[in-house]
Symmetry: C2
Subunit: 510 residues, 2 copies
């Protein structure tokens, strides 16, 4: 019993916490209670009339199914409810006449008509484009059946239909008034916020990936949740996963938002679908961030020394990319157009620099020892060795990027001593049946093959980053389309310094 | 009017088509009609009793909300319905006593209690872990309100509650009997099929990507739907997109499947969550296929000649990978354990071969002209030129992979003449402000940078493929876990030749 008590306390603590974090939930619950009480008051007030009290279930039922979290959803449900009821009413009226004509076989006609209606409605509601009206079909069948059965009993088809319609209208009216007049919760606004959040999440993930890669973060044991694409604790992973997973939520919100009347900053006929498009472009970038993270998760890792060579360029591209995302996110939040001048200029410059660096140093990305055209010539090898030594000693080298290198003999094995064990583990998983049958550290040919694969993985990381930058252009394009269509306001005059990328905003979204 | 008529005809044609493709939908609709007719028959039969006819809405309502496509979903709804009703009944009983005590303020007590109940239920149903019981909360509030209001009118709380419970039980009984006894549709089976389909879709996508890459498929204009991650017509894209998008569908089906009783090949307490886990591992692979497709979509393309060099190895890895996926998919479909022997052996061999080839020919993946350590030595350059010439002439070269090469001068520009225009377009989008301000084809330094990026993109493709193979191991692991837990049957004795990867199965899933 004590355990249950503790659990209960824990649960209520969490429930209160939920309300504190998202006060809209509390507001929604209060509004729901209010709508129900109002409806019941209405019924008590008019309760002298027998019919109204008897059919009060229709008003209550309407409130309960129509009252949804966002206003768009309430409108859709209301529309479904109304249309379904009216269609069912008309149809019931026709069949009622028919059943009366049938005389003795009245019940038979009714049961058969119910079967036919039930069949048609259930079949049509499975039709793909009918999905948003699923609820309407339910209401339709329900109303039809009730009208037929109850009408058969009381013989007052017309009155039954009218009383119900009035009660449903009353319930729907209460719903709409309460939902719109008291602290409305708009689906459009949620969609807007979700897309902004996607921008910020992705920026966080991108920075995390690049920094993690340069810091040579390695997963001792990759959580199997990541390997099976389930939610995991890794914040880096969660950020981009939530971006990718937001598709269905966006689609739902889009469906609601298009039903909402103009409100606040959102005018009539607002291009909501462009928000989803921008978010789709962000997702297209997110897949590249996922690929970057894949390089960190990968079993084949580039040696830290070589990463260091490209470190400043990689870091720059990552930082500039994240800056662009943050800026776009902020612009979207404030609903501003892009400032004059190319927002992508800095990140393109950084990418071009990285590309040049790769071009100049691509000998570091391959392993020339086993070239079948005869290995690398002697003087050539000496040059690389010289560079490696420079790197190792941390002295002035040809590369501008040498920062802080550990004195590890690089040319005997490109795997530093201290992560030997990890490397061994990695190698065991590395798909080569030679290494699989011998748990000993692989030697000779295999080691070289591994070395070259490991160096190439750095090239992969860099190309992903460059591809990410290329895809950013796509995001900017769709953002511009949105800002034109939605008529965002012009940015403030630019003699204030360009907005710095605040660290604070990054932590807000985590 | 004629247009409407044509549209109607088109719609009904499509609706019939839908039934032909998935007969389960027709069956579902028939069952729904049947359940409704049975319930109405029941009501007519017992209709002599006034109460039953008056409250018949409860039975009909129960059928309409409980009758879901799959049996698991029906069980969940039924459970929610039952629990919600009983809780509401008990609570209504208590508050009814209270309201009677209140005397004159009876209505006030009722309205306040409705507000409190409405608030609590609406708030708690937003609690994340309460999501599957959302419907239960609705039923709870509905029943509570109706009982209080109706009870207040007739003063017969107990009888009202009991009659309703009986009617709800009758409706639920009809639902369950009809849904389980006539052509049951199991969520578990759908989940099983969905996971199998994911395997086959991914195999199709993988083969398509590798073949497309080797055939140098290029998108003239990448459909903007792909760039914004929307559904598009591209079959290759659709296959892996559907794999990645299946997450939410799987979660829903998993929720239903765990509620289903043992049936057919699925015994009690079946490890359904392992199916989702396997599918998650498949998704983890799908992200690599997506990255492979990204190489085809990318603005920077490797020159076809160099792709040809690695063609046979790449092809082999792709084919073997798809074979493994097909085989796993077939095993899963038949619920068989893996055969003795390493299913991954062939694909690992192929990957190791590819890796060696890369190792031996990595000079083709970089552009040594601009190395800052002094460019490549003369004799070295000659060697590459010789190789390039050999490739161009299609004569016996050092590479085993030369198949069918066009005679294009390779060393002046690595972009073949015929796709010059495309390349130019691509280059315009390539993030470099140098190329952005001049629409002319870039020259000199930039061209070289582009060349090296383009060669490296081949390396990226190859590493993706190898990473894909590494991730396959993960799929096999989770498959084995599933086959242990679910107690799959042993494979047939192996003296029949290992199952060939039929082309037919691949077309089935498209």
């Amino acid at each position: 019993i004590k355990k249950t008590w503790v659990e209960m306390k824990d649960f209520s603590r969490k429930a209160v916490e939920m309300g504190r974090l998202d006060p809209r939930k509390v507001i929604f619950a209060i509004k729901m209670g209010l709508a129900l009480s109002l409806t019941s008051l209405l019924i008590f007030w008019k309760g002298s009339h027998e019919d109204i009290a008897q059919y009060s279930i229709w008003a209550i039922l309407t409130v309960i199914v129509m009252f949804e979290f966002s206003i768009g959803a309430t409108f859709i449900k209301g529309f479904n409810r109304g249309l379904g009821t009216i269609c069912a009413g008309i149809l019931a009226f026709c069949f009622a006449e028919l059943s009366v004509v049938a005389g003795k076989f009245e019940e038979v006609v009714i049961v058969i008509s119910i079967f036919i209606i039930g069949f048609c409605a259930s079949y049509l509601k499975l039709y793909p484009t009918m999905k948003p009206y699923e609820y309407g079909f339910r209401v339709f069948v329900l109303t039809y059946c009730i009208l037929m059965i109850a009408g058969n009993r009381t013989r007052e088809y017309t009155e039954a239909i009218l009383t119900r319609l009035v009660l449903i209208a009353a319930g729907a009216g209460v719903c709409l008034v309460v939902n719109i007049c008291f602290f409305p919760i708009w689906a459009g606004e949620s969609l807007h916020k979700l897309v902004v959040k996607n921008f910020k999440d992705l920026a966080t993930s991108l920075e995390g990936c690049v920094n993690g890669y340069l810091k040579c973060v390695e997963y001792k044991r990759i959580p199997s949740k990541i390997l099976t694409y389930q939610a995991a604790d890794d914040p880096l992973y969660n950020c981009y996963r939530s971006v990718i997973q937001s598709t269905s939520q966006e689609d739902t919100l889009l469906g609601f938002a298009t039903w909402e009347p103009p409100h606040g900053r959102y005018r009539y006929n607002y291009p909501w679908e462009n928000f989803v498009k921008v978010s789709g472009a962000v997702k297209h970038c997110a897949f590249m961030v996922m690929a970057l993270h894949g390089c960190i998760l990968s079993e084949i890792q580039a040696p830290p020394e070589r990463r260091k060579v490209f470190s400043s360029e990689l870091q720059k591209v990552g930082a500039e990319g994240a800056k662009v995302l943050h800026e776009l996110g902020n612009k979207l939040e404030k609903m501003e157009k892009l400032s004059a001048g190319d927002i992508l200029k800095n990140v393109h410059d950084a990418a071009a620099e990285l590309q040049k660096k790769i071009d100049h140093k691509s000998y570091l990305l391959v392993n020339s020892e086993s070239w079948e055209i005869g290995g690398r010539p002697k003087e050539f090898e000496d040059l690389i060795d010289v560079e490696d030594e420079n790197m190792t000693l941390g002295s002035k080298s040809l590369s501008e990027a040498v920062l802080d290198l550990r004195s590890v003999p690089v040319d005997t094995t490109s795997l530093p001593q201290q992560c030997d064990d990890d490397a061994r583990n990695m190698f065991i998983k590395w798909p080569s049946n030679v290494s699989a049958n011998a748990r000993s550290f692989p030697k000779g040919d295999d080691l070289k093959t591994y070395e070259s694969a490991s160096a190439l993985s750095l090239a992969t990381f860099a190309s992903h980053l460059i591809e990410f930058v290329a895809r950013l252009g796509n995001v900017v394009d769709s953002f511009e389309e949105l800002s034109m269509k939605a008529n965002f306001k012009d940015p403030p005059i630019m003699n204030m310094s360009p907005e710095p990328c605040k660290k604070g905003t990054a932590t807000w979204v985590v």
